[in-house]
Subunit: 276 residues, 2 copies
């Protein structure tokens, strides 16, 4: 999916919402837990209930891998379900991979061929050859960790890296040269919205994946104020606040209500910015 | 496995060799490719032929994930085979994971419970909460990326990070405080042996996993000269140079010959250092 297509979907749905599928056995509604494929069944119902409000879904790989083969199988079923039923949805593998060239090539094969994802999150520490193999797939995306919103983000991301800039700024500046705004996006932690100004100085045209709305805190209006560009340029994720809003048989309906609340806020923001 | 046990194995086998299982369909001997579980069959024969010469095996996750469910299944069979037949072997998941706390917890569950690995490689960019969840498993290890030997290593790892030190040095210094030499190791690229002096200044007692011997270049004698400590403190990996040394039905025998060559060099080094 190219960036024009993504912007078209944002305008059509009046939404830049991504729903994170951090699907965990212990948090599933009780009536699903004894099913044969409980993670897939949960995801399927969430997706069917929210597909018109979200432009993207983002399975978090750790939650599937920890179940081994059956986890991997249910991840595959989830991606295939979206692909078959909702072909215009953008699907992100939140995998944070990053290795040397020949290994990164295998990870690209994993997420773009074996599984049919549109994008994969990648850790930048090992440099350009961690990223380049993913860029060899036309229409697919790499989403590079730039600034994150977790406690440990302060440990290294904000260190001075010379030339009066911090490490995350150097990462943005250098990595932007490895591809273009049509195949690279960045993860930017929403709880640090003031940083968005700095991020936009360096990468004005790239899409930013903002993971911090909802259970992790963060303010949608502030993110839009400082992070939005003329083609929206934002994909804002919410996971737990939507998918675990209810734990009864009504979970998918309540997830829809929560997604709708967020989508309505996004609609207002897009209208105020004159983007639809 | 604790560090004393690991050192005992090194002395017993007169080896600090780790064999990397970067097992790839396209590189398998022809007669294995039509088998039901070709990756596992290859690994099993390599392991059975080399288990007395190596102290560790290191499957590279990308090579299994790219086959989906069956890849994951064959990885599991490989780990179980080592566990059951050779209980004193150290097993490393080369996975380079790294995420926020609740996701890292799931990755720890994946590699230490779902799969029965002793250690997992982790990327440091997201900071302490990427690492801490792995340290909650007694007897298991996290192996943090410090300096790597790939082309892209220069992009960020050697940037000045203030206080007259480079990023990898800051990562070593800070992360060493999150655990101890009994639960943290570091990945240090062997092709930059002169850096080992600097690494040993900061982490004199930690084990270092050196990935660069063999196909990636690097010099065993230099690595030992500058990286070895009084309890060896080195695990040196070789992947392709051993496992793909031959592509006929004799592949396991030839792999053994190559492993033996390396083990004999290691034996000499350990003797010269007075370590056995």
């Amino acid at each position: 999916m190219n960036s024009e297509h993504l912007f078209d979907q944002i305008k059509l749905k009046q939404s830049f919402l991504c729903i994170g599928l951090d699907t965990e056995m212990i948090k599933l509604p009780g009536h699903l837990r004894d099913m044969n494929l409980p993670l897939f069944e949960f995801n399927r119902q969430i997706i069917d209930a929210t597909h018109d409000l979200a432009i993207a879904y983002k399975p978090n790989l750790a939650f599937y891998e920890c179940l081994g083969e059956t986890g991997w199988h249910q991840l595959e079923l989830t991606v295939n379900h979206i692909r078959e039923r909702y072909p215009h949805i953008f699907i992100i593998a939140d995998a944070k991979r990053g290795d040397i060239g020949n290994t990164s090539k295998k990870y690209a094969e994993t997420f773009f061929q074996q599984l049919n994802f549109d994008a994969v999150t990648v850790a930048p520490y090992m440099g350009s050859d961690s990223v380049l193999p993913f860029l060899e797939y036309p229409g697919r995306w790499v989403i590079i960790l730039a600034v994150t919103s977790n406690k440990g983000a302060d440990d290294f991301q904000f260190l001075s890296s010379g030339n009066h800039e911090r490490l995350f700024e150097t990462i943005l500046r250098k990595s932007a040269q490895w591809g273009n705004p049509g195949n690279i996006m960045y993860v930017v932690g929403a709880t640090r919205a003031s940083l968005l100004v700095k991020v936009r100085d360096i990468v004005p045209d790239h899409f930013l994946l903002i993971p911090g709305i909802g259970a992790q805190g963060g303010d949608l209006a502030e993110v839009a104020e400082y992070g939005m560009n003329s083609k929206c340029g934002l994909i804002v994720n919410s996971s737990r606040a939507i998918i675990y809003a209810d734990s009864t048989e009504r979970f998918a309906l309540v997830a829809r209500e929560k997604a709708l609340e967020t989508q309505l806020q996004m609609k207002n923001i897009l209208r105020n910015k004159g983007l639809y």
